[in-house]
Symmetry: C2
Subunit: 267 residues, 2 copies
């Protein structure tokens, strides 16, 4: 019975939990396996070759756990390693945050801003994906490499975060964007600060929402949506520091994380 | 002729070049091999087990290059993996930044502050090393995990860096320290900002200076100081992004880097 199998969700580290939160809330009958490569974070400052190599190792691990679908809950990996992941996944459907974010921003806007890590922005994955759906949308991109470390150090309310965000967002505001895509799964944690800088007339697009919708549609289409609410489990695997992962992770999920396991790739 | 062999210098990434600069200036006849594990930076936020594993891989690589001495140009690795490195090194002498920084701060001060990464500070390596030399010195430690990413993003003159540094240093200033050890090889790049915050009455101690002195003494003692200035080479090996390494690296060294090579550990 494939419908009972877990969905594999992965990220370079902890940000992907903002996608997990939506999945748990909207698809409460699904079993989940989350993988965060904490030992090698951050991915967003690394080269394409290195990110693809790391992503392949993770996908091989997930496939061994017997999963029914893969969610790439990381914009950086979606941006530079989507094809590599799909190739390894074979018949297992792959859902990614960038396709979802592009879908949400391709309708109803003429000018859209995108913020993300260096790797995501340099890949041009967002403009490419948006233009495939709607070539009329003007996409203005801005790398914001320091937001992730500032969030991971808990400086969510610090004046320094606001100053750095203001610097990053200035170029986008000068271009009169109508919507802003949060092109990194960490950013929803500071959406209030971002909204206060850009003002209420600019929409914020969180790709996690459409990622979850896309996942649901694919599960239905493949007849593998779990209809039973028995014995649901959410398991989390990390390559380093399970305690720290749990502490920050519960801030993301607003719920206790029962099963956290340490795994290693290298010997 | 062992004296002609290179010295192996390694760091998690690029900060160790602040030590290389001193070695090049003070020991211009020495051949150098530098290794930076760019693909897995930063180390300072990771667990002891993971840092030790990464350090062992690097040391095995350096030993294969036939080196005459090893310099750990990274406080985090010195703090948690010095014994692991010495064990692998066997008869090859190992010089580390923390022993050097401890030596410099153990004489002439009653109260010393130390700043470093999470891993360095949590290890208590500085207070332990200082107290072995002089149990009378009071050591006050402060982790500053965001300084490295801010420097690596080039925000050396940004108001946000100053605000974050002020927050980190406040607790040390409240304790009336007489000297401050820069317990991370990135920090010398912003020593002017740190000095302006702490004032001129507090001495700044850069362990790179004593690391270089210790290296020179050990080379002399072991009769392996290179007396010839022929064919001197400085080779740099990184696990990711050689171009970015070169760009930031030349800021550290103030000189062109000729030989940069990409190596990988994982397959």
């Amino acid at each position: 019975m494939r419908e009972y199998l877990p969905i594999g969700v992965f990220d370079s580290g902890i940000g992907g939990l903002s996608v997990v939160k939506y999945i748990i809330n909207n698809l409460p009958n699904e079993n989940l396996i989350y993988f965060g490569d904490i030992a090698r974070i951050p991915y967003g400052t690394k080269s394409i070759d290195t990110i693809q190599k790391f992503a392949r190792q993770t996908v091989k691990f997930l496939i061994k756990q017997d999963i029914k679908a893969i969610v790439i809950a990381c914009n950086t990996i979606s941006a530079v390693a989507l094809d590599a992941v799909k190739q390894l996944a074979g018949n297992i459907p792959v859902i990614d945050v960038i396709s979802a974010g592009a879908k949400a921003s391709s309708v109803g806007y003429k000018k859209v801003g995108v913020i993300g890590t260096n790797a995501t922005i340099n890949s041009h994955a967002y403009p490419n994906s948006i233009h495939k759906l709607n070539p009329e949308v003007e996409v203005i991109s801005q790398a914001c490499p320091l937001i992730v470390p500032l969030i991971e150090e808990g400086l969510i309310k610090h004046r320094a975060l606001e100053l750095i965000c203001k610097d990053y967002l200035k170029a986008l505001l000068d271009k009169n964007i109508e919507a802003l895509v949060l092109g990194c799964t960490h950013y929803p944690l500071i959406s209030d600060i971002i909204q206060s800088i850009i003002g209420n007339s600019i929409d914020i697009i969180d790709p996690a929402i459409d990622t979850c919708n896309n996942l649901q549609q694919i599960l239905i289409k493949n007849k593998i949506l779990n209809s039973s609410n028995q014995m649901i489990s959410h398991k989390f695997f990390v390559t380093d520091m399970p305690q720290k992962f749990q502490k920050i992770g519960e801030m993301f999920l607003h719920t206790p994380m029962q099963h956290i396991e340490l795994v290693t790739f290298e010997h």
